[in-house]
Amino acid sequence: MINFSYTIWILIIPIFMFLLLGLLGMKFKPIISGVLGTIGLGVVMLLSYYAAYQYFFQLPRIDDAYQQILAHNITWLNLSASLQIKMGVFIDPISVMMLVVVSTVSFMVHLYSIGYMKGEKGFQRFFAFLSLFTFSMLGLVVATNIFQMYIFWELVGVSSFLLIGFYYERPSAVAASKKAFIVTRFADLGFLVGILLLSYYTKSFDFLNITGPVGIEVTRNLTQTFLGMSVATWALLLIFMGGAGKSAMFPLHIWLPDAMEGPTPVSALIHAATMVVAGVFLVARLFPLYSFAAPDALTVIAYVGGFTSLFAAVIACTQFDIKRVLAFSTLSQIGYMMLALGVSGYGGEKGLGYMASMFHLFTHAMFKALLFLGAGSIIHAVHSNYMNEMGGLRKYLPITHLTFLIACLTIAGLFPLSGFWSKDEILAAAYEHNKLLFMVEYLVAGLTAFYMFRLYFRVFWNKEPHYHHKPHESPLVMTIPLMFLAIASIFAGFLPFSKMITSDRLPFESETNLMVAIPSVAIGLVGILIAFLLYKKDNVRVEKIVKGLGGVYTTIYNKFYIDEVYMFVTKKIIFNLISRPVAWFDRHVVDGFMNGIAGVTVLTSRKIKGAQSGQLQHYAFFFVLGAIAFALIFIYLWQ
């Protein structure tokens, strides 16, 4: 029996680094903080790799299925006789895969940041926050129960908040961090209520129980309905709402593009590769429950994912800020993953969508982190986010150019790069279940290739603007992560995912469906070709098209005005129509009433204080009057 108890160090090291750098960071030289944090993460990465190696290759399987292991589980808080919050480390295929993804990307980002953040004020703080984030994310993926996941989910949210608002003197960064936190918090409300609802029936938070046969049986047999939907569907949809918030699914996506205000390595780590796929991970974690107890909820997930992928891809074609293009591309790709989960069944080859989703999560983490880090390298060189101020950079940034091109080809799904394999599996899964969504995904594949190569040609080819300083290639500490991730993007597709990560933990054979794969590559090539024609050289075709589209273009460019709708709801409705009247009501009605009581008391005392005038003749007069009154009462009433 292999002992996995060392995996606890995967959590201890980052939190220790956070405390060390957070409390004492200012005492160190900046570079020391950076190196310490990076070394810590390096150890975490090696431990994760070792755990993955042991888990997939050494650990004996039971009935051919990968085991689920509770490496640690301690009680953190007793809630009721049946409900306890535990903290622990849960080892199963998806948690091990996520450990690898998170620690790899996080290590690369740490290393890259030593170069990228050099000379920034708050360098130590940056590394402390990165460690905090990594700790929270790792804690999330190894959660043994849904409440531990919720706890780390919130911690991830706050680390994201702190990192988006890293440049706290910049009002736009502060606004973006606030928006991200509040939107995801709103989604988490759904998550929380979903957990409460689910655990009320399953009497447990533990994944082993709720996604095991007993939990599924209990959830499936729930007869209560609310507004025509079973309680199980409600609970799981509410939990998905939490996932949709974190993974920025429509209509809770608005925070992600703004989150690009954070430093670029942060965007790579949090807002591309790890945190934003937490929603996908959540659904995957509870997948047996979704599949058996609430198939309706899965259908919703499929459509939400499909719609988001199209919606975001369309917007990505019009944006000029390169980080925003990548942000919308992230939305679109996560939509793919959600869709794959939504169309998946449980067990064996029916679980193709599940496998494909996890596969795409893995490859996407590599190539999207690469794209963001590449974008960071570009921004580092030209000091701008806008592609209008770039062009012809291939001469100045050879390594960045090459790695970026690899990433673009990968995301466009060209054979034999990793994006091809994972996207193909998703398309194959969709093809078998839902033809409409399948066609949508073909369209998205084309759009993806187009907007990525629009970006690529615009930045690396096209007309060279006048640069104030000659752009220069980034230092090695930044280009090594790029090269590593480029290699990962190329080869990750050859990993035998269907043998490792499947819905029922049993390996199966998956084949490439040529009927699906060939057209998808062809569509990708068409997208690239259009981008080539429009953006390779500076020309007037683009402007003509934009003019031709008119209002449609403006609407897309303004992201379908969804932000404005939210603004209206928060500013006008919540602030002006709820909060302001509440404040007024409190001051004038409730408090007014209390003051009124006081006022009446004062008034009464003023009126009757005349009786105490201090003048003898008054008293005598009242005395006589009283005596007569009493006398009359005694005489007439007493008898």
Binding site: G165, I182, L197, V582, A583, M594
Partner: protein, 498 residues
């Protein structure tokens, strides 16, 4: 000697010590030593309590002492503690310790200030250890009266008005409470025999239902006013806004908890039948408190008003959870009392420190404080995160325990109010982040603020004590939770007998 007596003797000795000092240096030193000793005693008390329990003493109340005080009315000086009172005492000593350091530099009449402050704390300690209704009421008044002086003399803004308002409203609460307590007293021997104020004795008999129905609202509202129950909470914003820092800390941190504590120790424990019957009315009121307080806070611009409304929301959650009447929710309610006590004390301490530098509490007149006073700003962010329920800090533990407990009621009414209460976590995030964003981040709005200094050592002592406590509860909540749980049983038995 009984350890509980120390909680009264130490403050009295401290006051005598203060009277002997000549200048403000001596005064603050004596106060700090006194409150430090108090803190140590309360930690010792926790260990003694555990030792006693582990030794197999399963009495409901430990360390009981009983002196006859007024024979003809059967009034006793009767004290004793269970896990809940031990936790509340620990809270009080932490907050009063931090409070002394937060008011280190009081300029006017420091001696009188510290004496009043310590009298207030004594009242609170006495309240938490009392098991006799009359003694309890007496200590309650001891805690409320110095408040008038403290706000009226050392306050700011319209201090006479606020002091008057706060004291009168709380006195109004006392009046209701007195009716309730006498109601209990005169019904404490339904089958003849001697009337008693002894809580433990009364809990053994059943007060006639008609009497319960009549006196429960008096007692519950009487305590509820102190616990900022809607619509009797309006003393809180004005009172806090005018009060000096340490007074706000003690008041919001501890005094408001007397309300919640009294509600379950007296009203619900002694009148469980009426508690069950009338719970729904108060559940509605408290659910309103929770949401209303949070929305009220969004619109405020004065830091203290924001925190006062936030307190209305958080204290509403305490009463809300108590009324759910199951182990989990009540456990959560008490954790919430302690968590809110620490958190709000931290907030008021920080607001006082910021105000002492900028001379304004209006958030729109400030901005970018992170740059000039990073220590205070980071502390403020931590307090804010605790308030919006970040895991790892105490607020999360309390809120989650409450929500899980409240969710054990499967009927629609409880579900609706619970979800409503849950929604406050979003609204809380909105106002906390708004304050943090405007106050601490962004560019510095006022040139003069560039020359401000960061926290001094005594301010650091004050805030670090509170933050450490908040984090301790947040990271290892099981100790506090189990401490409370072992003492909830008598109360739950009492409630479930109906």
């Amino acid at each position: 000697m009984n350890i509980l007596a120390l909680f009264i003797i130490i403050p009295i000795l401290t006051i005598i010590g203060i009277l002997c000092t000549k200048d403000h240096v001596g005064t603050r030193l004596v106060s700090a030593i006194g409150m430090g000793l108090q803190l140590i005693t309360s930690i010792v008390l926790i260990f003694m309590f555990y030792a006693e329990r582990n030794a197999g003493n399963h009495a409901d109340m430990l360390f009981m002492v009983d002196y006859m005080w007024f024979q003809s009315l059967n009034i006793h000086y009767l004290v004793g503690v269970d896990g809940i009172s031990v936790a509340m005492i620990a809270l009080t000593s932490v907050v009063s310790f931090a409070g002394v350091f937060a008011s280190w530099e009081v300029k006017d009449l420091p001696r009188e200030f510290f004496i009043s402050l310590i009298v207030l704390a004594t009242g609170v300690f006495g309240f938490f250890i009392s098991l006799d209704l009359f003694t309890m009421f007496l200590f309650y008044e001891v805690a409320v009266i110095p408040m008038y002086l403290l706000i009226g003399l050392w306050g700011s803004g319209p201090k006479e008005y606020s002091a008057m308002k706060l004291t009168l409203m709380l006195m109004g609460g006392s009046a209701l409470l007195l009716v309730g307590l006498f109601g209990i007293y005169f019904n404490s021997a339904p089958n003849g025999g001697q009337l008693t104020f002894n809580i433990m004795e009364i809990s053994k008999i059943t007060i006639p239902m008609e009497a319960q129905r009549f006196f429960f609202p008096f007692t519950f509202i009487g305590f509820g006013i102190l616990g900022a129950l809607f619509p009797f909470h309006t003393w809180s914003p004005d009172g806090h806004a005018s009060a000096p820092t340490a007074v706000s800390m003690l008041h919001a941190g501890v005094l408001m908890k007397l309300g919640g504590y009294g509600c379950f120790r007296v009203a619900m424990f002694l009148m469980p039948g009426a508690a069950h019957e009338l719970a729904w009315i108060f559940i509605i009121l408290t659910a309103i408190s929770v949401v209303y307080g949070a929305f009220g806070a969004i619109w405020q611009k004065d830091l203290k008003y924001i925190n006062a409304y936030s307190s209305v929301s958080h204290c509403g959650l305490v009463l809300f959870a108590l009324l759910m009447m199951n182990e989990t929710a009540m456990d959560g309610a008490i954790i919430q009392m302690i968590s809110h006590g620490l958190m709000t004390a931290l907030f008021f301490a920080l607001i006082g420190m910021i105000y002492g530098r900028t001379h304004t509490r209006m958030i729109n007149e400030m901005g970018g404080l992170m740059k000039v006073m990073p220590f205070l700003a980071v502390c403020y962010v931590i307090a804010g995160l605790a308030s919006l329920g970040l895991p790892g800090l105490s607020g999360f533990v309390a809120e989650m325990t409450i929500f899980v407990g409240a969710f054990q009621h499967p009927d629609t009414f409880h579900r609706v109010v619970t979800i409503l209460a849950c929604s406050s976590i979003v609204v809380t995030a909105v106002y906390i982040l708004r304050v943090v964003g405007v106050l601490l981040f962004g560019p510095i709005r006022n040139e003069e603020f560039n020359s401000l200094t960061d926290a001094k050592w005594f301010e650091k002592v004050s805030t670090i004590t509170l933050i450490a406590s908040v984090a301790f509860i947040g990271i290892v909540p099981i100790w506090l939770s189990d401490l409370i749980r072992m003492s909830l049983k008598p109360i739950l038995d009492q409630l479930s007998s109906f």
